[in-house]
Amino acid sequence: MAKQVQLGKNPRWLTAVYYIIIIFFTLFAVYPILRVITISLRPGDMLHTTSLAIIPENWTLRNYIDLFTQQDFLLWMRNSALVSLFTTLLGVGLASTAGYGFSRYHFTGRKAGMITLLTTQMFPLTMLLLPLFVMLVKLHIYDTLIGLVIAYSATALPFTIWQMKGYYDTIPDSLEEAARIDGCNEFMAFYKIIFPLAAPALVITALFSFMTAWSEYLVAAVLISDQHLFTLPLGLKQFQSNFDTQWGLYAAGALVVSIPVMALFLALSRWLVSGLTLGSVKG
């Protein structure tokens, strides 16, 4: 061979340009988060300051202490945790069975059902809010956490059902056939054999449902008015009222709320995307 081909070898100047671009956008991505950390560490007399220092002068954890002791933060957290927990349980139960039905049976209405799920993704949420509000009032579950759980389970379902179906499709039918021969009935074959095998997809479904419920603002703003039932988003928004924004408390709260979700998310991002693209391409 006349010429040695060197793969993946970039000229020096190009590598330098790459680094400049990547560092610039990394700063852009990280800076707002750093800024929230800074503000959360500021002492009470320094909230109106024009300083850009990352670690503020006389930094303190006062805001965090106040958040847990002086505010309703723990109450909001309890409400959000309850809503998220039940949304997750309901979501996993419904998506794991519905996904299985769509994956294994060729019944009339199968395609229509899948397409309906996809179409609901195009509904503007604001369109559903008023009828939902009216219905929950009629059912006497307006301004309750149960109403919120039902609403959130349904928002997460189209994605999680597609995701579960996609995963079941990769498990061969022969497993169920073998189970049937060994004397399982149809439902037992699903429950005893396939359900445990789908554990990775179940984890994604669970975490996706949890995150949907943990981070949702708009539906909660419409369906909850009782201050004792406020979830975290409603509570944190309250810190930012028009006249007197409590930036320190808001920043501390925002961090406490986001860090667990961010950790989960980073662990999951790869699978979330593969589910998304698979689901939509097959539509």
């Binding site: 590598t15 609901t120 008023l130 930012q240 391409v281």
Partner: protein
């Protein structure tokens, strides 16, 4: 084959697949309650005259609300803004996302760390992103203006250069981000660009990693340039991955209530910062124009549905091409 339109055949297959219906029924009951029933109710409302004063004794009035929607000049202004909002956001999301993915696909030191840090904006709950950026756009204490003030000597030079070149003048910082209509809209767009590019980046990275390496080796042997390799190999092969992501991106951005509403604090100043979804929300929950909003909602849905159907056709076309 059974005939799906024959009642008898339907029953035969329904008996065979009885269990399938049991499996999907619970999910569809919840979906029916929260999504399908409200959707149907909304269609009926859109042909009615329901409002706060006619909450109980409303009646069907035909297409009157739709006529109102289309004869209101504000609708076209907000629609235009929504399109601008969607196009600018998606352009930035895709260009930044794909660009950064192309760079990260090179053997750089610290690649994994950069990748993780660049995904962070996507991981932050959306309402927190919006509220935090709102704070950063504060006129006096917000980080954006503080940094721009620090950089003002440099900005001044750029400004005078731009002025001599194009005759535009932007004015110097501090800028009125949240109290002027263009400022607030720009602030919301910057916020949304921040939270949206990581998704495109991750999707593009996935697509890039799936491209077989020997294609590039073959191109190298043929003496192809960097540019040629991009347009002849990379572009056609990540396109099928990007199209669904872009479509989802368009739908999410078009319907993204949180950012525009929370950054501008409900469409401020003076309801100038709205896209269609926030405009509908305001019409329902502030002005109680129920029937009108229902009609407007249906119009929004139909716009997205047309877009979505086109997309499904297109992906089917690309799928058969490969």
């Amino acid at each position: 084959m059974t005939n799906p339109y024959s009642f008898k055949d339907f029953w035969t297959q329904a008996k065979q697949n009885r269990l399938a219906y049991y499996y999907i029924l619970p999910a569809f009951i919840i979906m029916g309650m929260v999504v399908i029933y409200p959707f149907v109710y909304n269609i009926i409302l859109s042909f009615s005259n329901m409002s706060l004063s006619r909450f109980k004794d409303w009646q069907l009035v035909g297409f009157r609300q739709y006529v109102r929607v289309f004869s209101d000049p504000v609708f076209y202004v907000v629609l235009g803004k929504t399109i601008i909002w969607t196009v600018i956001n998606l352009t930035f999301h895709v260009v930044l996302g794909v660009g950064l993915a192309l760079i990260l696909n090179n053997p750089l030191r610290g690649r994994a760390i950069f990748r993780t840090l660049l995904v962070l904006p996507w991981a932050v709950p959306q309402y927190i992103t919006a509220l935090t950026w709102r704070g950063m756009f504060n006129y006096r204490y917000g980080a954006v203006n503080l940094w721009l003030l620090k950089l003002s000597p440099v900005l001044e030079k750029i400004q005078s250069f731009m002025h001599s070149l194009f005759g535009v003048h932007m004015g110097m910082p501090p800028y009125e981000w949240l109290s002027s209509p263009t400022g607030a809209f720009t602030a919301a767009i910057i916020t949304n660009i921040w939270l949206g590019f990581p998704f495109m980046m991750i999707v593009a990275l996935g697509g890039l990693q799936a491209i077989p390496h020997d294609l590039y080796e073959a191109a190298d042997i043929d003496g192809a340039s960097r540019w040629q390799k991009f347009w002849q190999i990379t572009y056609p092969l990540i396109k099928p991955v990007m199209i669904p992501a872009v479509t989802l991106g368009v739908i999410w951005t078009f319907n993204n209530f949180n950012v525009i509403w929370l950054v501008s604090n409900g469409g401020n100043p003076a309801d100038s910062t709205h896209i269609l979804v926030s405009y509908v929300y305001k019409a329902v929950f502030t002005h109680y124009r129920y029937a009108y909003s229902a009609a407007l909602s249906i119009v929004i849905f139909l716009i997205l549905l047309t877009f979505g159907i086109n997309f499904i056709r297109k992906t089917q076309a690309t799928e058969s091409a490969y």
